[in-house]
Amino acid sequence: MKIAITAAGDDLHAPLDPRFGRAARFILYDTESKEYAVVDNEQNLNAPQGAGVQSAEILSRSGAECLLTGHCGPKAFRTLTAAGICVYTGLSGTVADAIRRFESGELGEASGADVEGHWQ
């Protein structure tokens, strides 16, 4: 299973980026092979609007099935749900910490956005 983690750096030791739409990068981690790839999100970091929607689209194309992040707004959540991606919010620490918590099964799936939209 492929999971995406919002990251401020390029590897598993990087701090988890608490923002979803304007996360610097996504680490795409394969739970079976234990390998990972980095997906750049620079374009959305500076998007004037709709960064969460666009980031969700990028994740959808990447084949990720789950997202581990800090916070997720309503438009991003709606888009991620439509793409069939499970969302886990409230994470912090490093990317590796988030993966460990996910694999231990202690995380509960988010049922909705945990922050207000940043546009309205």
């Binding site: 709709g50 969700a56 689209e57 438009k75 546009w119």
Partner: protein, 286 residues
């Protein structure tokens, strides 16, 4: 003739200049309040309101029976207002700029447009001044379509446009296609900094412009020096007069509290006419 009253910095006196200029000109004059996020000309003009209209923008609606999930709509949208994943396209009306691109590219004609209200236009009148105000609905962020709708009410005579502050899209929308831009500033470092940005904006749009310095004796000489260096006409300097501030606090136009100011605003109008024709001919020659 359309005159935009703009500024880089907020709170320099755009509304004061726009309202008092409108009240100092022979009728008929139109005053358009295009600062639609916080319109305030009416506080001073106190027009009698005649009617209101709702303004909307077209946003897409997708017919699920016709959509074949091709994703063209999402690819053309530069604003992430419509996305097409493995499922039906999702529409985010609050991000939509109403360009109609998604409807045009849809090969199945599965998209039609619905009108989404974004604001009101209010029409009023007072003593020879025809007043039109745009008022953006609370929670809306898309002001340019409403500003364009207010500007469409310009009747062809003398028209004063009170603009939003800054140099972003709403300002560009408000000053574009006007005959002259009056940039109101104050003689402070902030006033000068934002005046430079506003000057760059007018130059990029090839619009003739001049400067009004409000509270002219309250700061330093740098704004005057800058205008001199850049060959920018200083059209009017308004003194830092407590009586103007007191009238403002009561919602009274300055020309009513201090009738001698009418002469200053009439002179401002003459200078605007002079510079707009002169600068325009320079632009044409260039």
């Amino acid at each position: 003739m359309k005159i935009a009253v703009a500024s880089g910095k907020g709170g320099t006196g755009k509304t004061t200049v726009a309202v008092n200029l409108a009240l100092s000109l022979p009728s008929p004059v139109q005053l358009l309040d295009c600062d639609v996020e916080e319109p305030n000309c009416h506080l001073f003009l106190k027009p009698e309101i005649q009617r209101e209209e709702v303004v909307g923008i077209p946003v897409p609606e997708v017919d699920p029976d016709l959509c074949d999930l091709c994703g063209e709509c999402g690819r053309i949208c530069q604003f992430n207002a419509i996305v097409s994943l493995k499922t039906q396209p999702l529409v985010f009306p609050e991000l939509c700029h109403g360009c109609g691109g998604c409807r045009l590219v849809c090969p199945r004609e599965a998209i039609h447009e619905e009108n989404r209200p974004i604001g009101d236009i209010i029409f009023g009148r007072r003593e020879g001044v025809d007043f039109v105000q745009g008022r953006l609905h609370i929670g809306q962020a898309m002001s340019p379509p409403l500003i364009r709708a207010v500007k469409k009410e310009a009747a062809g005579g003398v028209c004063i446009i009170d603009c939003p502050p800054g140099t972003t899209c709403p300002v560009i929308t408000a000053i574009r296609d006007t005959d002259f831009v009056v940039l109101v500033t104050e003689p402070t470092p902030f006033g000068l900094h934002d005046l430079r940005l506003a000057v760059d904006t007018c130059r990029a749009l090839d619009l003739p412009f001049g400067v009004v310095i409000n509270r002219c004796d309250s700061g330093d000489e740098r704004v005057v020096a800058y205008c001199h260096e850049e060959h920018i006409p200083v059209l009017l300097e308004i003194a830092d007069d407590r009586r103007i501030a007191e009238a403002y606090s009561r919602g009274e136009p300055a020309v009513e509290a201090l009738p001698r100011l009418r002469r200053d605003f009439s002179r401002l109008w003459k200078k605007i006419q002079h510079h707009s024709t002169r600068m325009k001919s320079t632009v044409t020659r260039g």
